[in-house]
């Protein structure tokens, strides 16, 4: 990895006895798109606010471009930020809003005008300069906020749930636009969201926050395919959990209730553990063996849900644990299911992760 642009070194923020964020370690490479993902109150926004300078860390250090950031006040940090609900100045026109950071940096009037025009063009809002923020739609306001945060070419751009106020369709559209801007400008982005789908679509890497800590950092694929904690497996995508104790721990593998899987984390023999298996990796066999599946279990069909391109079956195992299996329409045709009928299931050991049960 090249020299990181942003380095969070064991930072934390404590309010009295409560840790809003703790032991946060993260290196962000230049040009990277990193997402902080987690439920509300998980510490992702606190961490972002520490980077921006609105919150002072009670522990650790932040370095930007190799220099310590701690003694630098907010207004000298040169970090762009898109706020939740945008925080556009209501008494200034769109152009004045975008021009504001340039003005603060003593850019001459003529250069300001030109750069503001460029920035507005970049977000597709040329000609909107004279309007007031409240005369724009939500998506347009979002773009103005983006232009204002990027117009002074900050090395780092922070985005705090920037799409939270938009409806689903506009959201998806803006996700793509932000990704394109990121690619074209080469800006490094830290993006905060609680929407896992958004995180998977946009990010180079995702840091999953929970209870003030980072549970796991990795590429979207890593997090989905190889979660290291039960929380990550549960928070990203849908997962079936089969609880028990870690058995037959050896090297990369172990067993839970006799079912084999890959070890997602270090576990001692006999420790409480879960086996996590994604619904699309769990196959309903009922006589049609699936090649390569080396684990099998059985139960009763509780519910069959028709989803058009796929079918979801909810199956109760013998101990009452409900698991769901997702199958493509073509496959599903081979195994007709009836509610109340017995069902046989199978999966590959390499698709299952064995994690600590906390």
């Amino acid at each position: 990895m090249t020299e990181p642009l942003l380095k969070l070194d064991n930072i934390g923020k404590a309010y009295g006895a409560v840790d809003a964020a703790k032991d946060i370690n993260l290196d962000v490479a230049p040009g990277e798109f990193v997402t902080f993902l987690g439920p509300s109150g998980s510490g992702k926004t606190t961490t972002l606010m520490m980077v921006a300078g609105f919150t002072e860390p009670t522990a650790g250090h932040i370095h930007l471009g190799g220099k310590p950031l701690d003694p630098i006040p907010v207004w000298k940090r040169d970090i762009g930020m898109v706020f939740q609900h945008y925080a556009l100045f209501p008494h200034m026109s769109v152009a004045q809003n975008v021009s504001f950071p340039l003005e603060m940096r003593g850019v001459s009037k003529r250069d300001r005008k030109q750069q503001v025009e460029q920035a507005l063009e970049m977000v597709g809002l040329s000609g909107f300069g004279k309007r007031l923020p409240k005369e724009l739609s939500g998506g347009q306001q979002q773009r103005v906020a983006l232009a204002r945060a990027m117009v002074f070419r900050p090395s780092l751009l922070l985005m705090d749930e920037p799409l939270g106020a938009l409806d689903k369709k506009l959201r998806e559209h803006m996700q793509l636009e932000i990704m394109h801007l990121h690619k074209n400008m080469g800006t490094t982005v830290i993006y905060v969201t609680h929407d896992q789908e958004e995180a998977l679509v946009m990010s180079d890497r995702i840091a999953v926050f929970n209870n003030g800590r980072i549970e796991q950092i990795g590429s979207p694929r890593d997090l989905y395919e190889a979660p290291q904690t039960k929380f990550v497996a549960d928070f990203i995508g849908e997962t079936n959990f089969i609880t028990g104790k870690a058995e037959a721990v050896s090297g990369q593998g172990a067993r839970v209730r006799g079912l084999a899987g890959q070890l997602g984390t270090d576990l001692n023999e006999g420790a409480p553990a879960v086996l996590a298996i994604r619904p699309e990796r769990l196959h309903v066999v009922n006589g049609h063996a699936v090649e390569g599946d080396d684990n099998s279990l059985s139960g009763t069909v509780r519910e069959v849900i028709y989803l058009g391109q796929s079918r979801k079956a909810i199956i109760a195992l013998e101990d009452g644990t409900e698991v769901s299996a997702l199958e493509q329409a073509a496959q599903a045709e081979a195994t007709a299911l009836e509610v109340g009928a017995p069902a046989a299931l199978s999966f590959r050991a390499r698709d299952a992760r064995i994690l600590a049960d906390v």
Partner: protein, 267 residues
């Protein structure tokens, strides 16, 4: 009859009309009498003239007292506006129990009966040599008007989005610039409104001024008071009209400021 909509509508009309007469008639009558050509407070006046306004401005007692009122009002309102706005800003950022206590203390002059404030201030200001001069009156008026500024500006700050200040800082604006460019323009309608409030309260103030003024330094309300207790001629009606018009103009100015802010700031 009880069930007829006409009856209830008519009753409402009567109530509304009586209310308007009760609230406005006295003021209207004073206004009309101030233009009277008669020498006494008769209504309706036999003819119209501006003689009482002429008398008011040419009589040194009245003109001096009007000037004294302005000399008290302008600095008092200015000081109250600055201190009250500053306090409102600080209190809006404080979350401790102290903030609530401090707010209560600053609002106290508005809440407790003004006669108590007047007596207390008079007792102490007399000892401090702040009796019978402008300084004492200005200070007392600042005390009385500051709560109005504080409450008006605070009400606006409740709706003020503090992330705008964060956004300005993030854009590179140091605190003072943020205040000047973002916070102040956005709360300025309420600051103006608070200042107008302070001016009206100071202009109309009687009780505290009654204690602190002497015949040499005497605001117009006190002068009016002592004349009402003596003999009354329509000059007092003219003074009363001036006082009333001042309030009315301030009220209208406030309305205009509010409407404008509603359009521009959209808070």
């Amino acid at each position: 009859m009880f069930y007829s909509a006409k009856f209830w509508g008519g009753l409402r009309g009567v109530i509304n009309a009586l209310l308007v007469v009760y609230m406005l008639a006295p003021l209207v009558i004073v206004l009309v009498i101030s233009f009277s050509s008669a020498l006494f407070l008769t209504f309706p006046p036999p003819g119209l003239s501006l003689q009482w306004y002429d008398k008011m401005f040419s009589n040194p007692t009245w003109s001096r007292s009007l000037i004294t009122t302005l000399k008290i009002m302008v600095p008092a309102a200015a000081i109250a506006t600055i201190l009250g706005t500053a306090a409102a800003l600080a209190l809006s950022r404080m979350q401790s129990k102290w903030a609530l206590f401090i707010r209560g203390v600053l609002m106290a002059p508005l809440i407790i009966p003004v006669i108590i404030t007047a007596a207390a201030i008079f007792g102490v200001f007399r000892i401090w040599g702040l009796y019978g001069n402008l300084q004492g009156l200005i200070l007392a008026h600042v005390i009385l008007t500051l709560p109005y500024v504080l409450s008006t500006v605070s009400a606006n700050l409740v709706m003020f989005d503090k992330r705008l200040e964060d956004a300005a800082a993030n854009c590179g604006a140091p605190p003072w610039t943020t205040f000047r460019r973002i916070t102040l323009p956005l709360i300025s309608p309420s600051v103006l409104s608070g200042m107008l409030f302070a001016m009206v309260i100071s202009f109309d103030e009687l009780v505290v001024s009654l204690f602190l003024s002497t015949p040499r330094v005497r605001p117009v309300t006190v002068q009016m008071w002592s004349n009402i207790k003596g003999d009354t001629d329509p000059t007092i009606a003219a003074i009363a009209t001036v006082l009333f018009l001042f309030s009315l103009i301030a009220l209208l100015a406030d309305g205009v400021a509010r409407r404008k802010s509603g359009r521009a700031a959209g808070l």
